[in-house]
Subunit: 98 residues, 2 copies
């Protein structure tokens, strides 16, 4: 299957905005070690108060590679403390128009 784009939008309480990049760093360090990982970029809203203050956009070789990476216990242990602090809306996408 073709490459896929993960787009994951985060709702981050203003008081926790400094914590999000640090959490992203730890998750990115894990992801870079996984088979099929291509790249990842953390986006921060230019204007404070946006619905989603942070958005992660990552590229993976296939949906299966991404799925395997997030199913591992190491990853679950890593993200568990943040699951409720940062409500997030991940999806896997393909580019259909440019």
């Amino acid at each position: 299957m073709a490459k896929v784009i993960l787009i994951n939008s985060f709702e981050v309480p203003q008081a926790k905005e400094d914590e999000c990049p640090a959490f992203w760093e730890r998750a990115a360090e894990y992801m870079r070690r996984q088979p099929g990982f291509v790249s990842t970029k953390l986006h921060r809203a230019v204007i404070s108060g946006a619905g989603f203050h942070f958005v992660n956009v990552a590229e993976w070789e296939s949906p299966e590679h991404f799925q395997k990476a997030v199913e591992k216990e190491e990853f679950n242990d890593l993200v568990a403390p943040y699951m409720n602090v940062f409500p997030h809306y991940p999806g896997l996408y393909e580019v259909i128009r440019t």
Copy 2:
């Protein structure tokens, strides 16, 4: 100011999924004619039923260029019929980590 990334996530009812790319084409045609436009990509969810079935990711020379583009009457006339059909969550971002 530096380049900015527009990330706009769309909630699209399943029955309207075919209409979204056609709407995007019309909006993209308008955007390409505006000063400061750099690029735009329409992403479609790989798996049906994702929270956001489509995500537009576009690059602009500055927030001011984007703001001017969406304030014009021509753009408002273009998108008005779709505002309630496709609830959407736009934000302007900068890349802070790669």
